[in-house]
């Protein structure tokens, strides 16, 4: 088992400190508002990467669990209950746990399929969840939407608690990823990605590994949905269970680098601020879908492995080149896809 590298630990401390300090340095509400959404997607993308990046199973139903988290918070803290303060944040771990347990039977059925069929089954689940969000009026009040008690946070720093809660979930998600990559579970996931049949043939229990990862990833997603609902304070089915949220997290993982620890954060940092600014401007909002699809196509066709792996390849190639210039003609450094990289 690999010990913590010093540079990796230093990088982690720098990133987390910078993220934690951000709302105290840049205080304008609109800036922190963008930061809230960036941190939200960073957490969602990291959670998606846990299954999608490490095991290669493309799950497209994550936005459904985002909605489940959102509606759970909305039901627990309705507008009529008065301002809930910080209680919703404290109850989130339970929401996440509940969603994770709910996801297990769903995962059990979905994992009867593999590869592209798994993606299709989960995408169907997403559409079903959206339909259910409209139909289950006792839980969601359908298309009339649902209000959540508005907190009495100070106006000047209104966004800060939401940002910090999302940061905490993000740090939790990254810690889970970091741990999984070093634990037997990570090796199992990598084995599934590389050759599931061979892994099973060698006696690896792939079913449990897939289910545990699926449930963890969706539990984290539901917690983030809960914070989102509390921040927005009024939710509608079409935004709580939105295919664009699923697309967003997948896109950010692909942009930053599938299967890397910090790739999802990088993807979110690059895309979300641009996305928020575009969506807020009336003219560009009409072009929003077209621009979104353009960026998506660009990333998948021209940068299919994402920024972090591409940069690492480049560095490795430059290094091996300089090695060769000075010493023996060493073989070019191969890029091992399962290599654990920061």
């Amino acid at each position: 088992m690999r010990t913590v590298s010093r540079s990796g630990a230093a990088l982690t401390v720098v990133i987390v400190t910078a993220l934690a300090a951000f709302p105290f340095v840049f205080k304008a509400n609109w800036v922190v508002n963008i930061a809230v959404f960036t941190m939200m997607y960073a957490g969602l993308a990291t959670a998606w990467n846990l299954l999608g990046g490490y095991s290669g199973y493309i799950s497209l139903c994550n936005a459904a669990f985002f909605g489940i988290g959102a509606y759970t918070i909305a039901n627990l803290f309705p507008t009529s209950g008065g301002p809930p303060g910080s209680t919703p944040f404290l109850i989130l771990p339970l929401v996440g746990l509940g969603a994770a347990i709910l996801s297990i039977p769903i995962g059990w059925v979905a994992f009867r399929t593999r590869g592209v069929t798994f993606a299709i089954v989960t995408i169907s689940l997403l559409f079903v969840a959206q339909t259910l969000a409209f139909l289950m009026r006792s839980f969601t009040r359908g298309s009339q939407g649902m209000g959540i008690g508005v907190p009495r946070f100070s106006v000047a720093t209104y966004e800060r608690p939401f940002y910090l809660a999302l940061l905490a979930i993000f740090v939790f998600a990254v810690s889970v990823c970091w741990y999984v990559r070093r634990a037997k579970l990570g090796l199992t996931l990598f084995a599934i990605r590389d050759d599931e049949d061979r892994a099973r043939g060698l006696g690896v229990d792939t079913e449990i590994a897939k289910l545990v990862t699926f449930a963890t990833s969706l539990g984290i997603t539901a917690m983030i949905g809960g914070v989102w609902a509390y921040y927005i304070t009024y939710i509608y089915p079409q935004f709580a269970v939105d295919p664009l949220i699923t697309i967003g997290m997948v896109l950010m993982v692909f942009l930053g680098g599938k299967g890397t620890l910090w790739g999802p954060l990088l993807g979110a940092l690059l895309l979300v601020p641009a996305q928020r600014l575009l969506a807020q401007n009336a003219t560009t909002a009409r072009w929003y879908l077209i621009l979104y699809s353009g960026v998506f196509l660009f990333v998948i066709l021209l940068l299919p492995r994402g920024i972090i792996p591409s940069v690492q390849d480049l560095v490795a190639r430059l290094r091996s080149k300089s090695d060769r210039d000075t010493s023996s003609p060493a073989a070019t450094v191969p890029t091992v896809p399962t290599e654990v990289v920061p």
Partner: protein
């Protein structure tokens, strides 16, 4: 009993159109291992093109198929060349799903710019005309739509079974490497096959617009239905797709009749989960290459 027969008739008529919509998906998956999430938006595009021809030039929606099919065929060729061909074969299945989803979003965005998001419907003079046969009422447009779907599916089946191109397609589906060795131009088969698969969807779209109101976002409703149909049909089996589509149409109609129209929207979910628990490979499991 009367209700039951009426529901089955309506379900079979709807299922025929679903079969036409979904057969293109199966074809593209069989030939290229591509899951085309843009199939739904191609149907909506067909519906809008037909709508425009009807409202501006008075072209009958069933006649407009002759115009819609070639236009969308060319669009399909372009999408295959620009977006799908560059994908590496090893990652094609998964990445094609995301790439075509992005294409779907782009086309949805363009349709939103051109037509706005208001619901539209193509309403020819005979839109509400119905036949009464032995006490059962059927809308004429539904019968026409079903007939058109059967004709196009039959032509597609004949092309695959009898022509040189059809043999090339079947060869590619069975074994791409051997087909290439025997002189089949795999790239040409892929491009034309993809063009055909979306053109059939657009043909179905032209008639879909007569039966159902639509807006640019409607493709999500369609694609969830179609993906379920091809999973039920066993991914890559054309007869399986047709049977699954009719099954879907009939169960939707029965649920709408006996329980409620809203619950019918969940039919595909219930069917999907049920089938996956019992038969993960679908009704006609063509999980391995070799069938179409």
């Amino acid at each position: 009993m009367r209700l039951f027969v009426q529901a089955v008739i309506l379900g079979v008529l709807a299922g025929g159109v679903y079969a036409l919509m979904a057969s293109g998906l199966t074809l593209a998956f069989g030939i290229m291992r591509v899951i085309n999430v843009a199939q739904g938006v191609m149907i909506i595009l067909g519906a809008y093109l037909s709508y425009t021809l009807f409202t501006h030039f008075g072209v009958d929606p069933f006649l407009s198929v002759l115009f819609v099919v070639p236009v969308v065929f060319v669009l399909g060729l372009v999408i295959e060349l620009v977006f799908i061909r560059p994908l590496r074969a090893s990652e094609r299945e998964e990445l094609s799903l995301l790439v075509t989803w992005a294409v779907a979003l782009g086309i949805e965005g363009v349709l939103g710019l051109v037509y706005s998001t208001t619901y539209r419907s193509t309403i020819p003079s005979y839109a509400n005309a119905a036949w009464r046969i032995g006490g059962f009422a059927v809308l004429q447009v539904q019968v026409y739509a079903f007939a058109l779907s059967v004709v196009i599916l039959a032509v597609l089946g004949l092309v695959l079974a009898k022509t040189r191109f059809g043999r090339a397609v079947r060869g590619t589906v069975q074994n791409p490497a051997s087909a290439a060795l025997l002189g089949v131009d795999e790239r040409k088969v892929a491009a034309i096959g993809f063009g055909l698969s979306v053109a059939t969807a657009a043909a179905a779209g032209a008639v879909y617009g007569v039966v159902t109101p639509f807006n640019p976002g409607s493709h999500y409703d369609l694609i969830s239905l179609l993906l379920t149909i091809i999973v039920l049909g066993g991914m890559g089996s054309l007869p399986g797709t047709v049977v699954a589509a009719v099954l879907m149409g009939v169960s939707q109609a029965l649920l709408a009749t006996y329980i409620s129209p809203t619950s019918a929207r969940l039919t595909f979910f219930v069917l999907l989960i049920g089938i996956l628990v019992v038969r993960p490979q679908g009704l006609f499991g063509a999980v391995e290459r070799g069938k179409l």
